[in-house]
Symmetry: none
Subunit: 232 residues, 2 copies
């Protein structure tokens, strides 16, 4: 179905995959319905290559995985998706041409198509509900492909996406101690501790909660202003 092909293109684009090969699509090709579910991944549809058989589609590939939910009569290696994508990543980094075969939504891959592959790729699922649809299976595989990149590579194309760069300036110990002194003075004045022997332990625990918050310089200033307002 065109809608399934569009959803596959979208998931590919989300996770950095670009080359789509179609084998004898049921409703011909191009299929305008594919654009309905492709989001902005139109270029992947426009550049999709068409083949009559799976054997032709993977003819130039050096490492092929077949996704299938069913146990097969053919005795061949089975790889879970995470390890399979790590293996594929290593091969791509060595310059190999690799492919992942997906079957049609309802029927899955034929045995003869599975036999084109080096290994079967499986996605671990709950035994009570094992059936993933095609779009879901592509999302999982594409996500694992993207995640198989080394962390440095993940953000290298656009360093501004890295969470680390958004880190605001953490407060200095000195600024934190100023906040703590203000809070302690307020609690002393309010006769909060009641049992003097317990103050040390309680106060350490209270400071620990604010230390865990990892306050920024700006946040320390906000807290000091709040305490001024509250203590009056």
């Amino acid at each position: 179905m065109g809608e399934n092909i569009g959803a596959v293109a979208r998931a590919m684009a989300n996770f950095g995959l670009g080359e789509l090969r179609l084998v004898a699509p049921r409703d011909g090709w191009p299929n305008p319905k594919a654009a309905d579910t492709a989001g902005k991944a139109i270029d992947i549809l426009d550049n999709a290559q068409l083949f009559d058989t799976a054997a032709e589609a993977v003819a130039d590939c050096q490492f092929v995985l077949a996704t299938t939910a069913r146990a097969r009569a053919v005795h061949m290696p089975v790889m879970e998706v995470r390890g399979a994508m790590q293996e594929t990543r290593q091969r791509v980094m060595q310059g190999q041409r690799t492919a992942i075969l997906f079957g049609p939504e309802r029927t899955g891959l034929e045995n003869e198509d599975v036999a084109l592959a080096d290994a079967v790729l499986t996605i671990p699922v709950a035994p009570e509900y094992p059936s993933l649809n095609l779009g879901q299976a592509v999302v999982v595989v594409a996500h694992e492909w993207f995640s198989s990149a080394a962390p440095e590579a993940l953000f290298s194309r656009n360093p501004s996406q890295a969470p680390a760069t958004e880190m605001p300036e953490p407060a200095t110990r000195e600024a934190l101690h100023g906040l703590f002194a203000q809070l302690e003075a307020g609690l002393d004045a309010a006769n909060f501790w009641r049992v003097p022997e317990k103050k040390d332990g309680m106060w350490r625990n209270i400071r620990a909660t604010l230390m865990r918050a990892g306050l920024t310089t700006q946040e320390v200033a906000t807290w000091r202003g709040m305490l001024r307002a509250l203590i009056g």
Copy 2:
């Protein structure tokens, strides 16, 4: 949309999740269209609980993650999906109640809903096509949840798997909201905000600092006692 809710239920079932909570679904609930995309996961739809607000939906939860694609003004921890699900798995094994918040398909989560969470959950995606739809995002998170189980743990609920050292009991959202309400009332009475238009953003940032602290039930009680003493 009902179709989105159904797709979410299906992905949950595929990866061993069962408890769905809906917040004010656009077209009401139950919605017969959800069954069209739920596959065999009808029981998850039948057992879905309905809430008016996200705050009520997570009131009994002790660890909450908010999925969001956009960078936020609020300074809070950001966890990539794989690490986030490993952390969630550990907490569940210790008996904590956990939740993952997803926003509506088009608009995503509101800032005030994100502020309910302990951390933001991100899914690494290609910067050129960063937009995942709701169903795709749930597939990725649910798959990572399922994959976060140790192989031995995958098919057994054996409680002896829990680590020996237990974390102290994290506060429920409800307990945190009691603390927040007390602090807000104190700041209102002290005329802390000065510029009323700035209150929303300031207050969200202040709550974020306490959310980041990951307060325990005992610590919330201590903080409430402190505020009582300070506000007088």
